[in-house]
C-alpha cells in the first residue's frame, strides 16, 4: 500500500523542521520507506498566475484566439484554443521551460511555439494539463483560477494554489494500516525524527434529539461496531479549494463538500466513513445485516451486485451499502441533500476480505478494512468529520450519536522484559531509551520488577501480537543503521552439503567444459507440448491458476522444454550443442511430489549421424568414467518418441536410467523442428548415490604396448561390438574405431571399418606375437562376420 502524504499536512501533527529530504531519510530508516519525494512547486516551475487583459481573434484560425495576458510587471501574447476564454479571467500561464501534461498523458517541456503563423511564448492551461484531470471541466476549457485564488498576476502557481508542498510516496507495510493516515504517519514520524507529535483528539459531538436515529448489528461475527450520527442543515457544494487541493494531491477526485470530507478524514485517520442522504433512507435506522435472497444493490461504480449473504448496511427496507467495500449509488449525497447520515464501522477483516474477493470488488475503504482496523477508530473519525462538516458545510448534529458494538474493548497488555529486547537486537540499549521509544509510539508502560507491563495502543491492536514485536519497535526507532555489524559468534555446523547439489554443480561444469551450452527453461510447459512429446497432461501437475496456457503444467521430463528450445533456436543457429540439468516433477501417489534432477544433453543440426552419436556417447562415456559409473547401452525400439533404429537405453546394472539416440521424425515434426536432434537423457537423481570422484590407482605398465590397425569390409548391420567380441584375446587391451567408410571400393550395403588394436602384456611383446594375434582376429572377423579384409 502506498500513501501519498503531504508534508504540510504531516507537519500539522508532527512538529518537525527537517528538510523534506532529511525527513524522508529519517522515516525511511526508522519507520516506512519513502519511495519518492516530489516537490510540488518544481512540478509547476515557470507556471504563474496570468490575468487576461484582452482577447482578439487569430488571423489564420477560427478556433484559436490571441490573448494578452498580464504577468504582473509585463504582458505576453498567447495563442489559445480555450473556449471559455474571456477578458478579466485569471489563468494558469505556462511559460517556456515549464512542463505540462500533453493529451497523451506524457509530460512535455514547453518552448516558444509558432501556432498558425503567430508566435506564442507559452500556453494557458486546463486542469488536466496541470495534472489535475480529476477536476471535471469541459473539453477545451482552460482553468478559471478566479474561483480558487486571490493571488495577483505573476504569482507562481504553486504558491497561488496553496500547494507549495512536498508529497512523499510512502510504502506502508500491510500490517500498519494506521500509518495510511496522516495522523498515524505523523506519530511514526515524531518518533523517528524525535519531533513532538501534536495531535489532539477531535471534540466528540454533542448529541441532539431533533431527529431520532438508531443503529443495530445483526451479524455480530462480521460487524464489530457500527456508529452513525445525523447532521441537519448542510449545504452541499464544492469544497473549498484547500480541501480539494489536498484530495487532488493525494490522487482523489473532489466530488462535493460532504463526500470530500469523508475522504479527507479517511486520508487523515485511515478510517473509512460513508455519508448517506437521510431523506433517501426508509426509516431512521441503519442495520448491519446479511443481504437477503433476491436483494440487489447498485454500487457507486454503477454495477449491480447480488448481495444475498453479503454483509450490508441497510435501512428498514433495502440494502444501502456493501459493508466496508462500496456505497450504493442511489443513497449518496447530492446538491439537493440537506440532511446527512454519517456512518462509521468496524468489521471483521478476514470476512470482509473474503467478500471482496467473492464479489471481485475493491475500493480504497476495503483495502484499509481488510488489513484490520481497530474497533476504537470510528468515534475519532466520526468526530473529526462532524467538526469539518460544521465548519465547511454548515450543518449541526441533530440525532443521538448512535454506537453499537458486539463486545467491550479490552486493550492488549503484554509482559515485556527489556533484557530480552537487548539480547535480540544485540546491543546494550538502556531501559530509559526503550521506555522513551515505546512511549513515543503510544505504548503505555507500567514498570514492575524486571518485567514491564505494556498496554498496546488501539491503533496497533492488529499488528502487535506478542512481546517479541516490541523488540522491532525499539530496534527500528533506535535505527538499524546505527547497529554494529558482526559475524555470527557460534561454531559453524559440520553437516555435509546436500550431495545432489554438489553433484549438480560439478556436472554442469563438466558438461559446459565439454563444449555444451546450458539451457535454463521454465519449469512450466503447455499441455500441447506435453502432448507433442507423447506425455499425458493428466499425469502431470496442472496449475490451478496459470499465467498463460503455455505455462500450465509442471514438466515431468525436460524433453518438451528442450525440443521447444531447439525449435526456437534453429532459425538463428544452424547447429548447436546444448544441455540442461534441472528438476522435473513427478506426482507420487498420496505423498509429496518427487522432484528429480534430470539431464538432457545433445546437439541438433548434425549431418553425420554416426559422428553425432559418437560425440554424444563420448560425453556419456567420459562422464561415466570420471564419476565411477558403470553404464551400458541396450538397443531399444520401444519408445515411439525416439528413432526406433537409432536409440539405446542407458543401463546402470539392471536399471534403465536413460536413453541415448536420435529423436523420432514424428516428434521432431510435432515440435516444428526441421533438423535432426541427437540427445541423451539421464535420470541423474538415481545415479547420484553411485557417483564418486575418488579413483583407485592402477600401476602403469613398464612394458611398451604394440598397436596394429585393421580394415575390414562388413555388412552394414554388423556392429562395433561384434568386432570387439571377435577381438577378445589375452593380449588385446583395447580396440578403437579409427574410421567408418562407405563409397568407392566398398560394395553397396557394406561398410569398411578401420579399427586400431592396442596389445599389451606384462612382458615385452614381440612383433611376431602381435602379428599372430592380429591374424587370429582377422580370421575370426572373416569367419564369424563374413568380413572381407582390405589390404
Amino acid at each position: 500500500m502506498n500513501n501519498f502524504a503531504s508534508y504540510n499536512w504531516l507537519k500539522e501533527y508532527c512538529k518537525t523542521t527537517l528538510s523534506p529530504e532529511d525527513f524522508s531519510s529519517e522515516i525511511s530508516l526508522r519507520s516506512m520507506s519513502v519511495e519518492k519525494v516530489d516537490h510540488v512547486s518544481e512540478r509547476f516551475a515557470h507556471i504563474i498566475v496570468g490575468l487576461v487583459n484582452e482577447v482578439r481573434p487569430h488571423p489564420n484560425a477560427d478556433k484559436l484566439r490571441i490573448a494578452t495576458v498580464s504577468m504582473g510587471s509585463a504582458a505576453v501574447e498567447i495563442v489559445c484554443g480555450g473556449t471559455n476564454l474571456v477578458e478579466g479571467m485569471k489563468v494558469a500561464l505556462a511559460l517556456p521551460g515549464s512542463t505540462v501534461i500533453g493529451h497523451d498523458g506524457q509530460r512535455v517541456t514547453l518552448a516558444v511555439n509558432t501556432i498558425r503563423g503567430v508566435e506564442s511564448p507559452g500556453m494557458l492551461c486546463g486542469p488536466d494539463e496541470l495534472g489535475f484531470g480529476a477536476l471535471k471541466k469541459g473539453a477545451h476549457e482552460i482553468w478559471d483560477l478566479g474561483a480558487v485564488t486571490d493571488a495577483k498576476a505573476g504569482t507562481p502557481l504553486a504558491e497561488a494554489l496553496g500547494i507549495d508542498d512536498v508529497m512523499f510516496d510512502v510504502e506502508i507495510t500491510t500490517n500498519r494500516p494506521d500509518a495510511m493516515g496522516i495522523v498515524g504517519l505523523a506519530r511514526e514520524a515524531g518518533a523517528a525524527c524525535g519531533a513532538p507529535f501534536a495531535w489532539q483528539p477531535p471534540i466528540f459531538p454533542v448529541a441532539a434529539n431533533d431527529i431520532p436515529f438508531t443503529v443495530a448489528i445483526e451479524d455480530a461475527s462480521r460487524c464489530l461496531r457500527q456508529m452513525a450520527v445525523v447532521i441537519d442543515g448542510v449545504t452541499v457544494a464544492p469544497s473549498p479549494w484547500w480541501l480539494q487541493a489536498r484530495l487532488l494531491l493525494a490522487g482523489l477526485r473532489p466530488i462535493n463538500n460532504i463526500v470530500d470530507i469523508t475522504n479527507y478524514v479517511m486520508l487523515e485517520y485511515a478510517q473509512p466513513l460513508h455519508a448517506f442522504d437521510y431523506k433517501k433512507l426508509d426509516g431512521a435506522e441503519i442495520r448491519v445485516r446479511q443481504g437477503r435472497a433476491g436483494e440487489k444493490l447498485v454500487a457507486l461504480n454503477g454495477k449491480e451486485y447480488d448481495v444475498e449473504g453479503v454483509l450490508v448496511l441497510a435501512d428498514a427496507v433495502k440494502p444501502l451499502d456493501i459493508a466496508g467495500i462500496m456505497g450504493g449509488e442511489h443513497t449518496g449525497t447530492t446538491s439537493e441533500t440537506t440532511t446527512v447520515v454519517l456512518s462509521a464501522s468496524a468489521f471483521d477483516h478476514v470476512a470482509l476480505r473474503r467478500t471482496s474477493r467473492a464479489l471481485h470488488l475493491q475500493s480504497d475503504a476495503q483495502l484499509l478494512f481488510e488489513k484490520g482496523l481497530s474497533t476504537e477508530a470510528p468515534p475519532f473519525a466520526l468526530a473529526r468529520a462532524v467538526e469539518l462538516i460544521a465548519k465547511i458545510a454548515g450543518g449541526r448534529v441533530a440525532s443521538p450519536v448512535c454506537d453499537e458494538r458486539v463486545s467491550p474493548y479490552v486493550p492488549i497488555v503484554l509482559t515485556c522484559n527489556p533484557q530480552k529486547i537487548r539480547e535480540r537486537i544485540g546491543i546494550d540499549i538502556s531501559d530509559v531509551r526503550i521506555l522513551e521509544i515505546l512511549t513515543q509510539l503510544g505504548f503505555a508502560v507500567d514498570q514492575l520488577h524486571g518485567a514491564w507491563s505494556v498496554i498496546v495502543p488501539w491503533w496497533r491492536d492488529h499488528d502487535i501480537e506478542d512481546a517479541i514485536d516490541l523488540s522491532e519497535e525499539v530496534a527500528r526507532i533506535y535505527g538499524y543503521h546505527e547497529l554494529p555489524a558482526i559475524l555470527p559468534s557460534g561454531v559453524p555446523p559440520t553437516t555435509p552439503e546436500d550431495a545432489t547439489l554438489v553433484w549438480e554443480r560439478w556436472c554442469k561444469r563438466f558438461f559446459a567444459g565439454a563444449g555444451y551450452d546450458e539451457f535454463f527453461s521454465n519449469s512450466f510447459v503447455s499441455a500441447d507440448d506435453l502432448a507433442r512429446y507423447g506425455e499425458d497432461a493428466a499425469q502431470s501437475y496442472a496449475l490451478l491458476n496459470p499465467l498463460a496456457s503455455d505455462l500450465s503444467h509442471m514438466r515431468m521430463s525436460l524433453m518438451p522444454s528442450i525440443l521447444r528450445a531447439v525449435e526456437s533456436n534453429q532459425g538463428h543457429i544452424a547447429s548447436a550443442k546444448f544441455f540442461e540439468l534441472s528438476r522435473v516433477y513427478i506426482p507420487h501417489g498420496n505423498d509429496m511430489p518427487e522432484e528429480r534432477m534430470q539431464l538432457v544433453l545433445g546437439e541438433y543440426g548434425h549431418d553425420d549421424v554416426e559422428k553425432a552419436f559418437m560425440r554424444t556417447r563420448g560425453v556419456l562415456d567420459v562422464f561415466a568414467a570420471r564419476t565411477g559409473l558403470s553404464l551400458t547401452l541396450l538397443r531399444d525400439e520401444t519408445d515411439a518418441r525416439w528413432h526406433p533404429s537409432r536409440t539405446a537405453k542407458i543401463m546402470h546394472g539392471e536399471v534403465c536410467v536413460g536413453r541415448i539416440g536420435e529423436i523420432a521424425f514424428a516428434t521432431q515434426i510435432a515440435f516444428g523442428i526441421n533438423r535432426r536432434v541427437m540427445v541423451l537423457a539421464l535420470d541423474l537423481e538415481t545415479l547420484f548415490s553411485s557417483m564418486h570422484l575418488t579413483h583407485r590407482y592402477v600401476p602403469v605398465s613398464e612394458f611398451p604396448s604394440v598397436v596394429r590397425d585393421l580394415s575390414i569390409i562388413l555388412d552394414e548391420r554388423a556392429t562395433f561390438d561384434d568386432i570387439v567380441r571377435c577381438a577378445k584375446n589375452d593380449i588385446v587391451a583395447s580396440a578403437a574405431l579409427v574410421d567408418v567408410y562407405r563409397g568407392a571400393g566398398v560394395p553397396e550395403g557394406k561398410k569398411s571399418m578401420t579399427v586400431s588394436f592396442t596389445m599389451q602384456v606384462e612382458r615385452t611383446l614381440t612383433s611376431e606375437e602381435a602379428d599372430t594375434a592380429l591374424a587370429v582376429i582377422s580370421e575370426k572377423l572373416v569367419s564369424e562376420l563374413s568380413g572381407i579384409l582390405r589390404s
Binding site: I427, L483, L487, D498, A514, F520, L544
Partner: protein
C-alpha cells in the same frame, strides 16, 4: 718443410673462404686432409728427417693439424648456422590466421550466479540444503506465521496445483499444494531435521504469478537461515554486509531498513548503495536512473519469528536466529556491468544470449 706446412694453412684458409655448402667443403677436405691429401703427403716427408729436426717439425706439424681441424670446424658451423637460418626463413607462417576456438560451452548466467553466491556463504560456514519447489501451503505460509485467510498471503502471487492432485492428496498438516512463492518453506523444513546449530543456504526456484521486465514467473531465491542458542540483529547485519561486500565489491555499503514480514520479527529490507551513482542519488546533477535516492533494494531479512521456531519443533526460549531471502536474478542483475534490462530473457533459452556469458 716448415714453410710448406705454413703454406698449407694459408692455402687452406684461402680455399675455404669460397666454400658455402657441405659438398664443396668435402672436396676441400679430401684435397687437404684426405688419405692422399696434401697434409698426408707432407707428413710422409717427416720420415726422412733427423731426430732433432723431427722434434721441431713434429711440433709444428701438430700445431698445423690443430689449426686445420679448427678451420674445418669453423666452416662447418658456419654452414650449419646458415642452413638453420635458411630453414627458419623458409618456414614462414601466416600469423594473422584466425584462431580455431576450442569447444567450450557456456554455463548459464543463473548457474554462474548460484555458484558465486554459494561460495561466499560457504566461507561463512553456511551449508547448502535442498528443499521442495512444490510444497504444501503449510510450509509456504502457515508454518511461517501466516494462517489461512491472512491477507499477508496475498503479497505472494502464488500458483496453486489443481485439485485433482492437491486437495485430497495433500490433506493433513501439509495443506494444499503450491509452487513455493519463496524459498522460505525451507526454514521450517530445515529445523525439522533437528540438526543444530543451523547455517543453511538454500538456493532454489520460486514461482509467482507475475510476468514483467522485472518479474519472471519462475525465478530463484537464496534463503539463508541461522539458528543457534544466541543470535541477534547485529549478527544478521554482519552476514548481510559480508555478502554484499563480497559479491558487489568492498566499496559498496549496505543499510537495513524496517519492513514487515510475518515470519520475521523484527523484519528488514536490505539496501545496497548504488553502483552507478555511488550512493549519492544523482550523477552530474541528474537523478540516478537505477536507484532510489542512492540505494537499491536487495531483499528481505529478519529475526526468525518465535512462532516459526516453534513450528520447526524448537523452543524459542532456547533458540533464536535470523533468515533472509533474496532474488538470485535481481542480485545478479544489480551487479555492475551485467546490463540486462528484462529478466525474462534469462529463461528464453536463446543461444545468442546464453553464449554471451
Amino acid at each position: 718443410m716448415k714453410d710448406e706446412l705454413e703454406k698449407l694453412v694459408v692455402d687452406l684458409t684461402a680455399a675455404l673462404s669460397s666454400v658455402h655448402d657441405t659438398a664443396a667443403l668435402e672436396v676441400v677436405r679430401v684435397e687437404y686432409v684426405g688419405r692422399k691429401g696434401r697434409l698426408a703427403e707432407l707428413m710422409k716427408g717427416l720420415a726422412a728427417l733427423s731426430v732433432d729436426e723431427k722434434k721441431v717439425i713434429g711440433q709444428i706439424a701438430n700445431s698445423v693439424k690443430a689449426r686445420v681441424e679448427a678451420e674445418f670446424a669453423r666452416v662447418e658451423k658456419m654452414i650449419a648456422d646458415a642452413d638453420v637460418k635458411a630453414r627458419m626463413t623458409r618456414e614462414w607462417l601466416d600469423v594473422t590466421l584466425p584462431g580455431a576456438a576450442p569447444s567450450v560451452g557456456h554455463l548459464h548466467l543463473v548457474s554462474q550466479a548460484i555458484e558465486d553466491i554459494t561460495d561466499i556463504f560457504r566461507r561463512l560456514g553456511f551449508v547448502r540444503a535442498r528443499h521442495p519447489e512444490i510444497d504444501g501451503d503449510y510450509y509456504a505460509f502457515e508454518a511461517l506465521n501466516m494462517p489461512k485467510d491472512h491477507p499477508a498471503r496475498d503479497e505472494w502471487e502464488t500458483f496453486f496445483i489443481r485439485d485433482s492432485h492437491s486437495a485430497e492428496v495433500m490433506q493433513g498438516q501439509k495443506g494444499k499444494m503450491v509452487l513455493t512463492p519463496h524459498t522460505s518453506n525451507g526454514q521450517v523444513r530445515e529445523m525439522e531435521k533437528g540438526v543444530l546449530p543451523i547455517r543453511m543456504i538454500s538456493i532454489g526456484k520460486c514461482y509467482r504469478r507475475q510476468s514483467t521486465a522485472r518479474h519472471s514467473p519462475m525465478f530463484h531465491q537464496f534463503e539463508g537461515l541461522v539458528i543457534d542458542k544466541k543470535s541477534s540483529v547485529t549478527e544478521l547485519k554482519g552476514v548481510c554486509e559480508y555478502f554484499a561486500k563480497s559479491y558487489f565489491g568492498a566499496d559498496r555499503t549496505t543499510r537495513l531498513r524496517p519492513y514487515h514480514f510475518r515470519f520475521t520479527e523484527p523484519s528488514f529490507e536490505l539496501d545496497i548503495s548504488c553502483g552507478i551513482c555511488k550512493g549519492v542519488g544523482s550523477v552530474g546533477g541528474v537523478k540516478c536512473k537505477l536507484c532510489k535516492e542512492g540505494w537499491l533494494e536487495l531483499g528481505g531479512a529478519g529475526m526468525v519469528h518465535p512462532n516459526v521456531i516453534k513450528a520447526g519443533g524448537l523452543d524459542p526460549d532456547v533458540y533464536a536466529g535470523f533468515a533472509f531471502g533474496w532474488g538470485v536474478e535481481r542480485t545478479m542483475m544489480m551487479r555492475a556491468g551485467v546490463n540486462i534490462d528484462d529478466i525474462r530473457i534469462l529463461y528464453r533459452n536463446d543461444l545468442r544470449f546464453i553464449r554471451q556469458f
